[in-house]
């Protein structure tokens, strides 16, 4: 069982916005601002989309944004495109285990 809880799947239509949640505890997501989000397409290595909850690395589209409230972090993708179809993972610094990933959310673009 993954330490961080994500929905197994989400879907959205082209041009729409979707939000993926990532729920942990006060020992990880809720206790630290060290949440990262990754996009993982089949056959490729994951790509870092956000770190420090809200910071985008250079080159990442501003269609990707992050937030956090309590023990739940969220990734929002606006203006959905076909190429956004992928699996998205959150991760967080964790007090006891140092780092944990979520179980992943498969995004389908309709």
């Amino acid at each position: 069982q993954s330490a961080l809880t994500q929905p197994a799947s989400v879907s959205g239509s082209l041009g729409q916005s979707i939000t993926i949640s990532c729920t942990g505890t006060t020992n990880d997501v809720g206790g630290f601002d060290y949440v990262s989000w990754y996009q993982h397409r089949p056959g490729t290595a994951p790509d870092l989309l956000l770190y420090g909850v809200t910071t985008r690395p250079s080159g990442v589209s501003n269609r990707f944004s992050g937030s956090k409230s309590g023990n739940t972090a969220s990734l929002t993708i606006s203006g959905l495109r076909a190429e956004d179809e992928a699996t998205y993972y959150c991760s967080s610094y964790a007090r006891s285990t140092h780092q944990v990933f979520g179980g992943g959310t498969k995004l389908t673009v309709l």
Binding site: P46, T87, T97, H98, Q99, G104
Partner: protein
Amino acid sequence: EEQLVQSGAEVKKPGESLKISCQRSRDVFLNYWLGWVRHTPDKGLEWMGIIFTGDSHTIYSPSFEGQVAMSVDRSTNTAYLHLASLKASDTAMYYCARQISRYGDYITWGQGTLVTVSS
């Protein structure tokens, strides 16, 4: 552009050991945190641990401690992941990745090393 280049795919039998390499392309060997992440279709991404290249300080995931070892060879800019007593359930893609900080923000990833464990 920074790159992490991993060693090629491996096929092993149960009980065997394996060492995966991850070489950083840059000439200057700066001190940084490098992590190892396992991916399987069933479990997704799993954090295995990290190593600080400056002094080889390691932090292992409780899920992998005792089963893996991480090391660094500063003379060749190469990090290694040692996997011992392989089981069929260790069949996975293994990635190395460099962190921005020590808190899990993996900015640069290797291409992955596919490990297949089968009798």
